[in-house]
Amino acid sequence: MPGRKKLVLEPEWCKGCGICVAFCPKNALELVGEKVRLKEDNECVLCGQCEERCPDYALYLEELEE
């Protein structure tokens, strides 16, 4: 199915500022040990707001291959 996406996290690039966590409309992210991660029961809707506001490019949406 073309256009399907997934959220990719790069904890190594995360500086732990918490912007993505604060502005996630679904409250799907959390910081653990100053690194971002998806909550276990996450409700991520792939809106991409975290990617747009992450100053460190530590998370992003990626198109899934066929």
Binding site: V8, K15, C17, I19, A22, E52, P55, Y57, Y60, E62
Partner: protein, 279 residues
């Protein structure tokens, strides 16, 4: 592996960048990359990576040029617009984008800002405006609001601040706009319009400096500072739907001035033709 955008348009072996956690500059630099990617990918407009030059001065903001995988030049403090003027005037077909800060472009470089605006030379200036000198540790800048604190304003700043966009517009800039680190999509769109605009364009983007400005002024961290932008800055679509009274309490995110004045290098091309053909 970073995202395709970052991988393609930034020098990833130098990332993560040097900016502090929560610094708005990383957000704005991404907006610039997105704007350029969309223009480069758009067959309707003539923007190419090879013909794009990124120019910066000195300060936190100006480290951005080095991270962006284009022709890039990180110049001296305040002089980015003057270098950019030389680049654009020598080769008008180049798309010249200046990444600068409030101190770089409106204090030490203020003269170059107003004269480039006056000439209406086709540069796109994007200010990463964080109200503070961050690189040197938090001294007040020309955009620090009166009363706010900085390491050189321990009792509060007694200077009056500049509005950089108004300053540029007053000097003759034909396109001025305001963006913010919070309003990424609107800001990206404004940057695109600024690049496509033929004359001098300036997009004054409010950044956030949680490390120095935020901490000194009890504005909270990056999250609280971005929340302030969300609650007090309003995109044009909503701004103009508000009553005049309400608007006075808010800051517009959008175009401030947009005029079609003659562009400097195009006028010079006419002069060249006149001199060379004798007509």
């Amino acid at each position: 592996m970073p995202s395709e955008l970052i991988h393609k348009y930034m020098r990833i072996d130098h990332l993560p960048h040097i900016w502090c956690p929560g610094c708005g500059n990383g957000i704005i630099m991404r907006d610039v990359a997105v704007a350029l990617e969309e223009l480069i990918d758009d067959p309707e407009v003539n923007v190419s990576r090879e013909k794009t030059v990124i120019v910066s001065g000195i300060g936190c903001s100006s480290r951005a040029a080095g991270y962006m995988d284009f022709n890039s030049i990180h110049t001296t403090h305040g002089r980015a617009i003057a270098f950019a003027t030389g680049i654009k005037f020598a080769h008008p077909e180049l798309e010249v984008i200046v990444l600068t800060g409030d101190g770089d472009c409106s204090a030490i470089g203020g003269n170059h800002l107003i004269h480039a605006a006056r000439r209406n030379i086709g540069l796109t200036v994007i200010t990463f405006n964080n109200d503070i000198y961050g690189m040197t540790g938090g001294q007040y800048s020309p955009t620090t609001p009166t009363g706010d604190r900085a390491t050189t304003a321990p009792y509060g700043n007694y200077d009056r601040p500049f509005d950089i966009a108004q300053l540029a517009a007053g000097a003759g800039a034909s396109f001025t706009a305001r963006g913010s680190a919070y309003h990424t999509r609107e800001t990206t769109e404004l940057i695109k319009q600024g690049i496509l605009h033929k004359g001098f364009s300036l997009i004054d983007v409010f950044s956030v400096c949680p490390t120095y400005y935020g901490r000194k002024n009890h504005k909270g961290g990056a999250v609280e500072m971005l929340q302030w932008q969300r609650d007090n800055m309003v995109p044009a679509s909503r701004y103009y739907a508000m009553s005049e009274e309400k608007r006075r309490e808010k800051i517009l995110v959008g175009i401030l001035t947009h005029n079609e004045y003659p562009e400097y290098t195009q006028e010079y091309a006419k002069l060249l033709e006149k001199v060379q053909t004798g007509k």
